[in-house]
């Protein structure tokens, strides 16, 4: 007997994932200013926290989480992504966050298995 799940439980829900990302970013770098020696740890914390929460959703997805943290000094930054996947089952979500001293851009890609 196969297990069946309703459509809501196996789709990539962008709102849910957005909340997870926001909480992870706030938790990891919430009130901090840019510090070069800590950035490495911050990016790792953000992605690990995101991935842990995504795993807890229990959906049949493979996840790719990327995080970019850049110091604010007037320089321009652009990000883009291009994906070859199944539009009906896969999805992505990008969250931009900033404070006075840095930008943080987190992207989550969910690929159905």
């Amino acid at each position: 007997m196969d297990d069946f799940q309703s459509a809501e439980e196996t789709a990539f829900v962008v709102d849910e994932v957005t909340n997870i990302i926001k909480e992870a970013v706030e938790g990891a770098i919430g009130g901090n200013g840019y510090q070069h020696n800590k950035v490495n740890q911050w990016t790792s914390n953000v992605v690990e926290q995101c991935l842990n929460q995504l795993t807890k959703l229990g959906k049949p997805f493979k996840y790719i989480v990327t995080c970019v943290i850049m110091q604010k000094n007037g320089a321009g930054l652009h990000t883009a992504s291009s994906c070859f996947w199944d539009n009906s089952t896969d999805g992505s979500c990008t969250v931009r966050w900033e404070n006075k001293t840095m930008f943080c851009i987190v992207s989550v890609f969910g690929l159905a298995i």
Binding site: T10, T43, C67, A75, G76, T79, C83, F109
Partner: protein, 210 residues
Amino acid sequence: MATTGSHPAVKLKKTIQFPQEVVNVRRPSNCLSQNSQPESSSTLGVEAAGPNMARRRSTKYGGGTLLTAAHAFRRMTRNSIAQEQLPKPVVKYENTYKLGPDEGTEFFPSKAKNEIEVFLEQHMRDVTYDPSTAAQLTQTIADKVKNLTKELNCPRYKVVSTVVVGECKNQGLETASRCLWDDGKDNFATVCHKNKTIFAVVTVFAVYFE
């Protein structure tokens, strides 16, 4: 329970989708569906699930959401609805029982890295940072890198390419990524390219589709 084999990271579950009509089609070999447009008939035989099937299934597996979705679907089909408003059937392919890529069709990160390095070298040689064109440049690089990866003869792989392009102004920048996937089959390649005014960090992920 029929499964394709134990998955190290995620438990495999079949899906049943309401209220869309489900059409089961045998999957052609080496096929990766890019969109969900189904073929409604096939020479290998088609089993279509209509409203009656939905009703039987909903009582068998009786969740509240399944029952109400089935009711909604039946109500919809009883009234006359214009063809465009009906939900498009979602194709569910039969199992191929393939657990891994065939010989010679694996994704090799080293090959991808070489291709991307050559491409970036060529593309970014005389480029200076310009805010009005940088966005377009970034998108172009992402698309081209994805196409390059597709040409590497790995037919059952889903490809995600991400590009970060920025102005060089002595600022600090850090990128990180983590993935929840099958370590033996999925991989990634990353390339950094820099000149005096502009830098680009390109990462391409290839994920095997079971």
